[in-house]
Amino acid sequence: MVATIMTQNMAFQANSPADDQAMLATLGLAGIDELFAAIPPDMQTSAFHLPAGLSEMEMTRRLAELADANARNLVNFCGGGFYDHFIPAAVDALAGRAEFYTAYTPYQPEVAQGTLQAIYEFQTAMTRLTEMEVANASLYDGGTALFEATMMAFRITRRRRVLIDEGVNPIYRTMLKCYSANLAFEFVEIPLRDGLADRAAFQAQLNRDVAVVIVQNPNFFGCLDDLSDLIAEAHRSGALGIVSVYPLALGIVKTPGAMGADIVTGEGQSLGLPLSFGGAYLGFMTTRKLYVHKMPGRLVGATQDAQGRRGFVLTLQAREQHIRREKATSNICTAESLCALRALIYLSLMGKTGLVEVAELCAANASYGWQKLTAIPGVKPVFHANFFNEFALSVPANAADVISALIDKGIAAGFPAGRYYRGMESVMLVAFTEKRTKEEIDYLAAALEAALC
């Protein structure tokens, strides 16, 4: 009788009440509470105002209700660094294999070759995509990756001053400021000049105290730049160049490696990860071999066993917290391994040609969108630079209000720049991926025109 009642309460506890009794008897104990004798009774409480457990069916229904309370079928032109790309079915099918997702960080290499080889292949993909020499296994997201890269630059240069372009995603700049509160370093934000990094303003600030120049390409406004000259200028004063990138754009866009970047970071969401309300995402970092000992995060290297068989291990671990503790290059432990696996599978499916094609399609859709939207009376491009798949428009109204009005038409028309940039209340950012069709873009243009008159 009692057994049935207890079983009710025992979701995911493997043993039966009879097992419990037998095991307690082995331990010479009369009841479970005795196992907790080491905890002073006044620290044990039964006052938990928590709901009773649900069956799987009830829980599933509840979660479906919550999921259904979110918008579906909205036509999305909102980007801001996070994009609505198509994900081939094989990504979910393969990353959904429990041998991958129910494993831990690969501390025992002989029983983690699947994870380790995948990370090595991911590292390889990221070096090829960015044209850099080494990549780590993953970091939390694009913003924390940028913070980690900044700290890395301090270790390399032994300087503590940062010049950061205002075209770097304002969310990431806000994060960097948050992290800098307790660390002695100084930030200088350099305003844009017609949408691009202001060379003269950087030059005026560059001196022997500057550790690093941080830029983003394409930047928050979607503008594309060749940053080679700026990075070279940074190098001349002994500073490093960090470039934050949108990895899918690198299907066609000039690489940070080709621009001379020292450290590259980015948000890997565009590579086969759903938007998923902001996470789980994928921070990544690539750099030059020269700096590998200063790098944060796990690294996987190829090696051999005694029989000469190739295998993969976590390597250069002397950088990490479990060995170096407070002197480690980072505190990171659990990172975003499964997301890196998704990115690798995505890149393997897209392949050498497919990634170019999807990037071209995004850019072509954006070009068409630009023509349609700038043809609307009163709507003007804010900048003159080339763009990849996103651009800034000024509208003859408050952009936040305009976007709000279009939600009722089933469109997330973009992101209001005024949310993060003072004086840009009439500016909206509009993003295009391969998922948008001509029909949808025409619908956006018509709806925007209607909303403005």
Binding site: M10, F12, N15, D20, L24, M43, T45, F48, M59, A67, N70, N76, C78, A90, A98, E99, F100, T102, Y104, Y107, Q108, V111, A112, G114, I119, Y120, R128, E131, Y140, D141, G143, M175, L250, V253, A258, P274, F277, A280, V292, R298, A302, T303, Q304, A306, G308, R309, R310, G311, Q321, N331, T334, E336, L338, G351, K352, L361, N365, Y368, N386, I403
Partner: protein
């Protein structure tokens, strides 16, 4: 196995790109474009599918093996939690939508899920409020240490040090340092808990706080935790709780009632979110009332009309520690798990986690000396008695692999020589534990009778022990097509 790059043949492909629906082409100047396409694999879909399917089979995982990796809480990850997390109504929502004017209506379900998860975690820990932003346990620690720094700055306190026990996980000191603190190591007694007398000698006006996990990494409850909290609070310091070991006490104790002011939890341990081979995780952070103003923004709030929205109006907030609201897809699993278990289920978790760990300890402590006769959710055994015969904890670990078990944690805690930290979790049957116990006993025998056999282990895996020194020296971190495999065995 060959690398995916070694399977690449020019001209092959997996995906077919969608048709272009718009007239015209992109208008990007050539100088802004890359000159060569990235050398990504050229493979048909079936090769990609076979490649990753076969790679996955090289892993040990919770779904295939007992995985008693101490401190990591490798419990079963319910399939229902996986399935609900894939709902298109969750995966398809853009994180910027609720920041649009009137955009809150687009994500009511997601915001409500976050709000309710925060409330459940607050009730479980006794904390006043939670942030779900931190993206893993160590990120929670960093957030917590930054909250401690913000508190002291606000009070005009000149604080420098954080106390951390010598048994602590490496992320604790690393996180404290990243928040600008110096680390003072608090020594343990021979019994393996914090030596309060010695700790007292280290505490002074510059003490910002103390980070502890309870039970600690030796699987022992820190009996003096409240006394320690009093000592720290007496100098206006704050107590930080590393929730990695929450599986031992959930549904029974509340960290706030032990005297902690800030805590993080590891849903990818305690709440059965899968570990993903190294993430994604999450690291929700809870605080007592007086630290509430410093929590990261945005905050999810429930408005008077019963709807949910984001609030940024916290002038003392430390700011954004993550771009959005945390690792949402992991938080969905967390919420689902909490709903499935409920009040009684969560307490039953710790009951059975502790029972299973003590069962293993009881049946092994005669051959592998333990720090203590009793433990909480995990036990730390030592292989030091085998060292004279040339066998180390790592050799036992490799021997377990050949018997089909994932090894326990052997790289820490640092204060126990030849440590083997075993955490069975509540989701394992008695038969599994018995089989593991038998394997450990057999291995102890092998260690004495034939140590060479253990040095050769594992022999059942596709590779044997790998040359880590060569890996560090050669630094082959990315495939350049130059790798030589002398025997041609792949």
């Amino acid at each position: 196995m060959k690398l995916i790059y070694e399977k690449s043949v020019a001209g092959r492909r997996a995906v077919r790109s969608p048709r272009r629906t718009v007239p015209g082409r992109e208008l990007i100047q050539k100088r802004l474009l890359r000159t060569q396409p990235a050398e990504l694999p050229e493979v048909p879909e079936i090769e990609v599918v076979r490649h990753f399917t076969n790679l996955s089979r090289l892993n040990f995982s919770v779904d295939t093996q007992f995985y008693p990796l101490g401190s990591c809480t490798m419990k079963y990850n319910p399939k229902a939690c996986e399935v609900v997390a894939q709902h298109p109504g969750f995966v398809g929502i853009h994180p910027l939508w609720p920041q649009l004017r009137g955009g809150g209506q687009l994500t009511q379900g997601a915001l409500r899920l976050l709000y309710e998860t925060e409330r459940l975690l607050a009730e479980l820990t006794g904390m006043a409020e939670f942030t779900l932003q931190p993206l893993a346990g160590a990120h929670g620690e960093l957030t917590g240490a930054m909250l401690i720094a913000a508190y002291h700055r606000d009070r005009g306190n000149a604080k420098k040090h954080i106390m951390i026990p010598d048994s602590a996980h490496g992320t604790n000191p690393a996180s404290a340092a990243l928040a600008g603190f110096q680390v003072v190591v608090a020594p343990s007694t021979a019994q393996g808990t914090v030596d309060v007398k010695k700790l007292k000698g280290f505490i002074n006006a510059e003490t910002a706080g103390m980070m502890m996990t309870n039970p600690n990494t030796l699987g022992l409850f820190e009996p003096d935790v409240r006394r320690i909290a009093d000592l720290i609070h007496a100098v206006d310091g704050l107590m930080y709780y590393d929730g990695a070991n929450f599986n031992a006490i959930m549904g029974r104790c509340k960290p706030a009632e032990m005297g902690f002011d800030v805590c993080h939890l590891n849903p990818h341990k305690s709440f059965a979110a899968p570990h993903g081979g190294g993430g994604p995780g999450t690291g929700p952070v809870g605080v007592v009332e007086r630290l509430r103003p410093f929590l990261p923004i945005s905050r999810v709030v429930k408005t008077r009309d019963g709807t949910y929205s984001l609030d940024y109006d916290y002038p003392k907030s430390i700011g954004y520690v993550a771009p959005f609201y945390g690792n949402f897809s992991v938080l969905v699993r967390t919420y689902a798990y909490l709903l499935l278990l409920g009040r009684e289920g969560l307490r039953a978790v710790s009951d059975h986690a502790v029972l299973n760990a003590n069962y293993v300890l009881n049946k092994l402590k005669d051959i592998f000396p333990a720090v203590s006769d009793h433990c909480m959710h995990e036990c730390v055994l030592s292989a030091k008695s085998l060292v004279a015969g040339g066998v180390r904890a790592m050799d036992i670990a490799k021997g377990l692999i050949d018997r089909g078990f994932h090894p326990p944690t052997v790289y820490f805690p640092l204060i126990v020589p030849e440590a083997m930290m075993i955490e069975p979790t509540e989701t394992e049957t008695r038969e599994t534990l018995d089989a593991f116990i038998q394997a450990m006993r057999d291995l102890a025998q092998t260690a004495r009778a034939n140590p060479a056999a253990l040095h050769a282990a594992p022999v059942t895996t596709t590779v044997g022990r790998l040359d880590e020194v060569a890996a560090a020296r050669n630094m082959d971190l990315a495939f350049e097509g130059k790798f030589l495999h002398p025997n041609g065995v792949l």
